[in-house]
Symmetry: C2
Subunit: 362 residues, 2 copies
């Protein structure tokens, strides 16, 4: 019997999965409605602003929802956001029983949906396939429980941990296959962040030059506002949002030029140990609905994030070459001893052309 | 017909392979004797001082060698070393035809054996399976043509290219599986070399603590002779040779103590750009018959060897963790630009426990 219930919950998880990384700042949610041993409705949350999974499933079930059981990967919400509360829709549809894989991790609203449903006489179970549900929404859970985005540090380094040669150049350490994969992955993030050194030296676009409509927000950490007005990032501020985080060290005149002439979003934040306070910046980004952030270097920004314990996941492309010199991929203060090193978990190894991709969670 | 000949040569290569990395400073050689379409004798060179492959094959063929063809992976030698010339043995045995995969790469003796055989009326072909024969003896070929050992740089680093934490400790960055593999591989080298930092900080034995008879020579690069008399390397100088390379900066008194009291082989060499001239040291090691050298770090020694173009192969264990800080795996001046980076070829990726082993040739 339990196996059957789980089968429906897994179907709901599969539904949720269809919108992987497309729903932020909302979680991914899937729902399945079962009646008389048959699936009579299913749905998932496609993106923020559209129907929640429960509502989509109820719509797909139509009148068959009455008296049915619902399997949903997250506790139904009981609050007004861009759409009305799902609890109301569930009650109104005449659902008799709700299986939720996990409670809403939002500390403000968690548990409210379940209580409301129970008060309405609906039987509610919580916890079926909970681990999978948590895994699915681990980025959202980090965001909603800490007020910080989920940070993936993506770097392209040589085997000896360098991201540029002595002349500062980094084009190209990795193969075309690795770079293509990076480009394909970018639209799955809400924003791409780089440091000012990278912005100045590489003068990147951080746009999907091949495909329209796949651009995401770009963030530059630039405590002294060194980025030239004529840089590619600034020149394309009309194509995809560009947020530049700076400190009081920045020239007022340059801030104005960037904002007024170029439409760049300049945010002045407090200083941390070396430039912009990264924790303050991440809070700022989270408050703007950025859940899934990719940091593409350089070494100083990467090192500060690692030292600050602000990285959740690492995607390291390793090119089988030795570069040497001073341009380290992770310029950090470093662990005091080996036990204090930052261990990666769930490590995966893939090959891209001649390069190796090592991914792991912290 | 050609396929048949190649089959015999491949058998000879397989014979040679049996003594992989055990014959230095001699090459690996295998020989097969064929008569009337049947293999009547085969042999290989087991280690320096024992029968060469041709002689071993002739002995195994006995009187059947007369009128037969020989397939040998390297041109038969025509000089007295620890054993008499193979050419004489081949002629005396009445071999009618010799197929040699490649000429002797020794610039002094190469071609002499073939000329001698031909002058004696034996038909000689050269070049069958030449690539495989060269690949088999690539370490020996490097040694005999350059007067330098074949250098394998073996390092154990974190994903971000560090070999120690801030406190200098490096035990243990890699997993037990990786360390076990390193220990198993050591006896395949003629000597293991480390820098003085590693000798002082890690105080290693560089012995096979688990198995007797598997120890190899140990070499420490120590321009100021910082290594303590009570260090584990010095204390075990009676168990396996210990060579310490130093410069005129070393104290005479300490040299005497190491040599007389401890039986350490201290060699004073000219200084290079940073300490002992590594090229001079490698020449010295080659002159002592060391063909196959493994360098186990630290970062300074590794970097100097890379900068000097003295590394042939890299074995990099990468532990999926971030350590940060200043203890780089390869402390080198570095490539001026990306095109100048040292590329690895024939890259292989293996997993050892949670670690990754990347091997490649330069």
């Amino acid at each position: 019997m339990k196996g059957k219930h789980e089968k429906y919950m897994r179907l709901a998880l599969d539904m949720a999965e269809k919108a992987r990384d497309k729903t932020y700042p909302n979680p991914m949610v899937g729902a399945v409605i079962v009646k008389g041993g048959r699936v009579v409705g299913k749905g998932y949350h496609k993106r923020a602003g559209t129907d929640h999974a429960e509502v989509a499933a109820i719509k797909s079930a139509g009148r068959k929802a009455k008296g049915a059981s619902m399997y949903v990967t997250l506790e139904p919400c009981d609050h007004y956001g861009k759409t009305p509360p799902c609890t109301d829709a569930v009650i109104k549809a005449g659902i008799k029983k709700v299986h939720a894989a996990m409670l809403d991790p939002n500390p403000i609203t968690g548990g409210k949906g379940v209580r409301k449903l129970r008060r309405s006489g609906i039987a509610v179970s919580v916890g079926m396939c909970a681990n999978d549900a948590r895994e699915l929404n681990r980025k959202y859970i980090k965001y909603i429980t800490t007020g910080l985005p989920y940070v993936t540090l993506k770097l392209a380094q040589s085997l000896d941990g360098r991201i540029a040669a002595r002349d500062g150049s980094s084009r190209w350490i990795t193969s075309i296959e690795a770079r293509r994969y990076t480009r394909r992955m970018r639209p799955t993030f809400d924003a791409i962040m780089i440091g000012s050194n990278t912005a100045v030296k590489d003068d990147p676009f951080l746009l999907d030059e091949k495909r329209k409509g796949y651009d995401v927000s770009r963030v530059v950490v630039d405590s002294r506002l060194r980025m030239p007005l004529g840089s590619n990032l600034v020149r394309t501020a009309d194509r995809a949002p560009l947020l530049v985080a700076t400190t009081k060290l920045a020239s007022e005149g340059k801030i104005r030029k960037l904002q007024q002439r170029r439409g760049v979003d300049v945010v002045t934040l407090r200083s941390g140990s070396s430039g912009v306070s990264l924790r303050a910046l991440l809070r700022e980004l989270a408050s703007r609905g950025i859940v899934n952030l990719q940091v593409e270097g350089g070494g100083r920004l990467a090192g500060s994030l690692v030292d600050g314990g602000l990285v959740d996941e690492v995607m390291m492309f390793v090119a089988p070459k030795l570069i040497g010199g001073d341009n380290l991929s992770v310029k950090s203060r470093g662990a005091r001893n080996i036990a204090g090193a930052v261990d990666l978990k769930d490590v995966r190894i893939e090959r891209f052309g001649r390069d190796i991709l090592v991914t792991g969670r912290i």
